[in-house]
Amino acid sequence: MHDGRRKQDATGVRIDGVSKAFGSRAVLRDCSLDIEAGTFVTLLGASGSGKTTLLRIIAGFLSADRGDILFDGRSMRGVPTHRRRLGMMFQSYALFPHMSVFDNVAYALRMRGDTDRLAARVGEALELVRLEGYAQQRPDRLSGGQRQRVAMARAVVANPPLLLLDEPLSALDKELREQLQVEIKTIHRSAGTTFINVTHDQGEALGMSDSVVVMGNGVIQQAASPQELWNRPVSAFVARFLGGSNLLRAERRGAEARLADGTVMKVHGPAPDGPVELAVRPELVTIGEGADDGANAVPATVRETIFLGEAIKIVADVAGHTLEARVPVARAEAARPGARLVLRWRPEDTLALPAEAGGKDGAA
């Protein structure tokens, strides 16, 4: 199934100014996005942020109020779902309960009239998901993980150039989820087709995808590679949703920003002058007076320390904010609850981000 696959077997998807409202509630507002053929893209957002709605518009279950979906440059307006050459996985598995595992998988071939070597191809798909012995079982005899594997076999058996995944792993427990994440990635790599995945799980999005699209308030907040997203969130909204970052309210003026208590630090980042939030990743914070190397240094009082194995998490009070640092165990001897010390981080790791209008909605 691996080699010899031609590049044109993957669909490039363009989302062009799509808006959608249910009644008076705007769920998607002017969303535009280019998805390159063959990539694994994840739509990431809190529950209710419109991910499923966007995926359903791509699938053709819903039509956009405004805007268009293009596959390989061709408008999909008026093209019904069954002609869009898709595979799809659902959170609820959506296996046909009145059919055997075999017939569920064969369905995707039979409906397309693509029945050459039917049994052999269904067998191969079941082998791919390691369910060879289960062809004649009914889906309700299988565990959740097995059901989702059957759904995966059904989704890929016809080699669709575009696979849509609507939170297929969110009903499974953690261990299974991680196992299936690896399997889905492996299948993507060998199929070479386009995968559009939907999740509210940051770890899953960052771990599986070539590109992550953060959605919030009906808008695409940022679309970038996982590394880019992690290191260079474009807004406090994105940083907050990805989680882990310290966010400090400040007032920016040029290359400097002033915290509420008057502390001044050097900053980078895209936000214009005015109110900003400074994002500082915990693992980039160090302890100690150090030489005058131009780093931002602030006095802090340790509130709590938490042993994480390879590192220690220090929760400290800094200039009226709570700040987290993650420090290698050997470097954290001075950190005891109540201790006063200096926390440092580099100006280029101090991202000044546009403050969120209206506070924290959309955070996970």
Partner: protein, 282 residues
């Protein structure tokens, strides 16, 4: 382990009223009925059954009953299926309106409904007036005392039940299954045929069963809307028992009615499994 026997006694005690009622009101009369039909002058005899099989009148009644019941069931299914489907697909408000439209007639006593058909189908009834106004008939004649009139009555009485049985089964169909079918290449029609229709079968079976078994026992509707040639089994039982005082023959025809109903249940159970109707399907 210890509570097991005790539990069984409690269950039995709780069931006792039902068992007594069931025995007194069903088992006992049915037994009497059966014994009446197979005795002649105090002796065991099948002479009643022989008479039934040798009398064209009785056979005709049975045939008419089966024919009307089958046609009623099929027509209710054909009309009811799309209505139930529309109801299941409708938004919450439209769904409630449709549900009311279907169930309100069902709450009305069916004798009332049957009488209103007499008015509508009679010589100077609404149907004739419309037909004459349209110029389709010149001389008014009564549509009553015909098989069509009986069928209109039985179908109208049974349709709500059929629709509700279908609707109940359809609401249990997971809507994402139709999405999954479409996503994997099925047109709307093929998705219906391969997924929706098979999954709605418990409703089809339940509805057909209810309609058929109920129609077989109809009495008022054929009596009011039909003529002598539309006599159904229940009417002949009434005639035999109340007018001719032929109790053994009345019992025999009753047993035939019971056997027909049971036979239908057995056949359905054999091919579909009645437990599926309770929703324990898949």
């Amino acid at each position: 382990m210890t509570g097991r026997r005790e539990e069984r006694w409690i269950v039995f005690a709780l069931l006792l009223p039902a068992l007594v009622l069931y025995g007194a009101c069903f088992i006992w009369p049915t037994g009497v009925l059966l014994s009446r039909s197979v005795t002649e002058a105090g002796e065991l005899s099948l002479v009643n059954y022989r008479e039934l099989l040798e009398t064209p009148l009785y056979l005709g009644v049975i045939w008419t009953t089966l024919r009307i019941s089958v046609v009623t069931t099929v027509v209710c299914l054909v009309i009811g299926y799309p209505v139930a489907m529309l109801m299941e697909r409708a938004g919450p408000r439209a769904r409630i309106l449709l549900l009311l439209a279907v169930t309100v007639p069902y709450w009305l006593d069916y004798i009332v409904r049957t009488y209103s058909w007499m008015v509508l189908l009679g010589r100077y009834g609404f149907v004739n007036q419309v037909l004459m106004w349209l110029g389709l008939v010149d001389v008014p004649y009564s549509h009553l005392s015909s098989e069509l009139a009986v069928l209109v009555g039985t179908i109208q009485v049974m349709l709500p039940l059929m629709i509700l049985a279908l609707f109940a089964a359809m609401t249990r169909i997971d809507r994402t299954l139709m999405d999954a079918a479409a996503a994997h290449g099925a047109s709307a029609w093929r998705a219906f045929r391969t997924v929706y229709l098979p999954l709605s079968m418990p409703g089809v079976i339940a509805g057909a069963l209810l309609t058929f078994v109920n129609t077989v026992g109809f009495y008022i509707t054929p009596a009011l809307l039909g003529g002598p040639r539309q006599t159904m089994i229940s009417q002949s039982i009434e005639t035999l028992a109340a007018k001719l005082f032929d109790w053994p023959m009345a019992a025999t025809v009753s047993v035939v009615l019971l056997v027909i109903s049971l036979a239908i249940l057995v056949v359905f159970n054999r091919f579909f499994g009645l437990e599926r109707l309770a929703g324990g399907d898949r």
